[in-house]
Amino acid sequence: MSKEKKLFHRKPKAKKLNRSVAGNGLLFGLMFICGIFMALPLVMIVNNALKPLDEIFQFPPKIFVRNPTLENFSDLFVLMNNSWVPFSRYILNTLIITGGGMVGHVICASLAAYPLAKHKFPGKNILFSMVVLSMMFSWTVTQIPQYLIISWLHINNTYAALILPAFSFGMGLYLMKQFMEQLPDSLMESARLDGASEWKIFWSIVMPNVKPAWLTLAIFQFQQMWGNTGSLFLRNEELKPLQYALQQITAGGTARAGAAAAVTFIVAAVPIAFFLICQSNVIETMTTSGMKD
């Protein structure tokens, strides 16, 4: 420990406090070894998508591609163009379902999380515990009552059947509430003294201060909605999302193994792109906004 202290004193301009060189080296090594293992699925998806058919069926299978080609993608595009419902329609459906479910959930959950974190009112604890507990019940069983309720509301076979339940997932509210709880009360108090309404405080003070939280929530919700094939609630082919159409292509069996590898790539690449956009913003916010009360 004394050594570390010396290091710290010798380098007063070091970026971070209390960091030893040995510790940095140890952590870096650990990250590198674990990172290789964690990156395996990414590496496989990219390599598989680039493999020509003979390499896909090669036995024993190899992880790395030898003769990379974009054949799989051109195969996929041919199949897409042959589909009965134009592919642009599936993409539009996905935009509506994923975008709507995500934006709506982030807004509804944040709006409900604010009073739960910062206001006092009767029923507060009961409402909050119900949300936390609801996450512990198996969705496999609740699916059937949920289906009945959706039919009863006559929103079966509409976008709403997928979007509306997504607004009220439990995790988002819990996540937002935990982050809002950390905000100092003085932040809101001074705005109240200036005559700001609660809505205004929520929108222009609370939300900007918990940006890392809702960007993270957006990632979770995007992933959740993107993976939804909607096959339980949507019957009309014109309403189904991209994920469903892509799965139909994959279901074509061995003849479509190449296109299927391209599908796997696209299905993973879109949430990854979204993830990177959000994640780099999570970091940016905190470095630019700097001082918090």
Partner: protein, 314 residues
């Protein structure tokens, strides 16, 4: 007279209380308005289905005929007659006790280490470590590694090193199923909790670290325990709940790697058992009873864990 007086006094008290509650509710109009959109949908699409499921757990329901009330029969069958449920429960508990705390610590550890890096490298590392959760084909990798012949990567390496003489059918040998599933689950564990810790670490007030350094915090480990962890307690609570819901509800990896049913039910968990009844045999009453038992189990664990987490940083 005395009795009358007493009654009127009580009535006054109750009236005053009601007035107070009514007043409180009225005063909190804005709060309720903010809660309304979320909670109306929440009651409709989550609370109501859960309540219906719990009610169904006391019935026989095959999804074709109307459910018939059977009392505690499903629960009695579950605990007294269903041998597979006993195996599944044992596996699930073992699984949760091992992977739950370990995954949680891994999430925290990696989030904390990644937080030490800065800029683009940080976003990149986060992606790499979150990759198994976002790629969706994680099982594919493990199927390749665990293939039961000499060409499976694990068998290949072990034979080359001279540790094994012949290939092992990993997912078809009873004693290896659960340990392998535990390893895969740990590998998959950097998910929701991990990302929320990453975000949580971003919101820790930087001036706390400077103050702590002046107060005699000497290295990064002390800083972690005395400054960082207490400052992100809300995220720790959140992460714990997510961890519990994941460790107890494990099913997908078991079904993908070991199959359902697995060899001699070595990979059976409460949720694979539930899926067996719910989506294969269409006995929704019984499946609901399994879900309710699991629900109670998770609630109990959650109570325990939250109590422990309150003591962080003390």
């Amino acid at each position: 007279m005395a009795v009358e007086q007493q009654i009127s006094a009580e009535a006054m008290e109750i009236a005053a209380k009601q007035k107070k509650l009514g007043y409180q509710i009225k005063r909190s109009r804005v709060s309720y308005a903010m809660l309304a959109p979320y909670f109306i949908l929440f009651f409709l699409f989550t609370v109501l289905p859960v309540v219906i499921s719990i009610i169904l757990s006391f019935s026989y329901f095959n999804m074709l005929e109307m459910p018939t009330f059977v009392g505690w029969k499903n629960y009695i069958k579950l605990f007294l007659e269903d041998d597979i449920f006993r195996i599944a429960l044992k596996n699930t508990l073992l699984f949760a006790v091992i992977t739950g705390p370990l995954s949680y610590i891994l999430c925290l550890l990696f989030a904390w280490i990644i937080n030490e890096f800065s800029g683009k490298l940080r976003a990149f590392l986060t992606l790499i470590f979150y990759a198994p959760s976002i790629c969706g084909n994680a099982y594919m990798v493990w199927n390749l590694i665990l293939t039961g012949d000499r060409y499976g990567y694990l068998n290949g390496i072990l034979i080359k090193l001279g540790i094994l003489d012949e290939a092992i059918l990993w997912m078809k040998t009873e004693k290896y199923v659960l340990p392998v599933l535990i390893v895969v689950q740990l590998w998959l564990s950097l998910g929701t909790g991990f990302l929320s810790f990453i975000a949580g670490l971003q919101t820790v007030d930087k001036s706390l670290y400077e103050a702590a350094a002046l107060d005699g915090v000497k290295n990064r480990w002390q800083e972690l325990w005395y400054v960082t962890l207490p400052a992100m307690k809300p995220q720790l609570m959140f992460g714990a709940v997510m961890q519990i819901t994941q460790s107890f509800a494990v099913a997908d990896i078991s079904i993908q790697l070991a199959g359902n049913p697995s060899v001699n039910y070595a990979g059976a968990t409460v949720v694979t058992h539930l899926l067996d009844y719910g989506s294969t045999r269409f006995e929704m009453g019984y499946a609901s009873a399994i879900a309710t038992v699991l629900f109670l189990l998770m609630i109990g664990t959650n109570k325990l864990v939250q109590k422990m987490l309150r003591r962080v940083g003390e």
